[in-house]
Symmetry: D2
Subunit: 107 residues, 4 copies
């Protein structure tokens, strides 16, 4: 399964259910946050949850809404992430950021 | 840029900065939630934000932490998302779910 | 400062700025999530942040949106929280829940 | 029920269940985010949810974790919120902010 195939699968899934009417960008942004909260719930009281399959499924849910959103915006998320990392590389130069968890505006 | 190339780019980025020590699964799950909140902020007071580039960049941040997390767990997110959709297809059969935003346990 | 006084202060703050038009329940729910993400950011890479004043301010932001929301719904949050705790006490009976972080449906 | 009484009720609830061991500030910050996500879920596909009682209960959950957290930090949340509003009043002066949803750094 590659990225384009997954996009197509998500698109078909929503079309079949006539869910496009609900999937505005705003509702999808909310959905990403809601699913991110469910992912975090796996780590609520412990740093190493036993049930990694549950973790994987929550990650899949965040991911699916994110791709759905990107697809509606006409964005390739892989390219967008790569561009953002190039920008982050300038904000966090290796010699300054190495081994530190400090935010860029305090480096 | 395909999925494997992006994984490798993220891995290299973190290794160069010696950030692996901070990127526990628990911290990455928090990071996904934090970035999802920043994405949601683009939609805080309006459903159609003007600055779609900012939206794209926040999506890229959520995505990057998610892939980082998946890579550390040895998971292929594309496959995980595809499997989760197959499961969702059973929870939301087309004939019951069509045109409705009802949660599966009330369908 | 008691709860009613804080409610009144928040109400006046928003009226003076004519912000009622933006503060729909839906936008306030988003705002609570966004600010909760900023609170979480204080704990992104460490369990014991140095800057507890920043933590306090983010908590204040979550709280303020929550009270604003409750006030618009005509709810007293203190009473609502107390009622919810009575309900939780039934879901988590002392003898079953003591010393365990298990969710109620698995107790 | 006033603020101090609710604080005391939450404290007793946790002590009876020996849950203090789980309620580190970091875990409570995660819990606030998780519950904020559940609150947002009430608004996932619609701006005006029918079930306002569910909304109220999710608000109560966010609120309870927030008060628990404040109590452990020795903070009075009502005072903290009031102080933060005074600070916000300077960031958003009435004449500049009136009727606008622009962030303070762009006003």
């Amino acid at each position: 399964m590659n990225y384009e195939e997954l996009c197509a699968k998500i698109r078909r899934f929503n079309e079949e259910r006539d869910w496009d009417r609900f999937h505005s960008l705003s509702n999808l942004a909310k959905s990403v946050s809601i699913e991110a909260g469910e992912l975090l719930e796996c780590f609520q009281w412990e740093d190493d949850p036993k049930d990694l399959h549950a973790v994987e499924e929550e990650m899949a849910d965040v991911f699916t809404y994110l791709i759905d959103m990107a697809d509606r915006m006409g964005i390739d998320l892989l390219e967008a992430a790569s561009r953002k990392m190039d920008k982050n590389a300038l904000k966090y130069p290796v010699d300054k950021a190495r081994g530190r968890n400090t935010k860029y505006d305090r480096l």
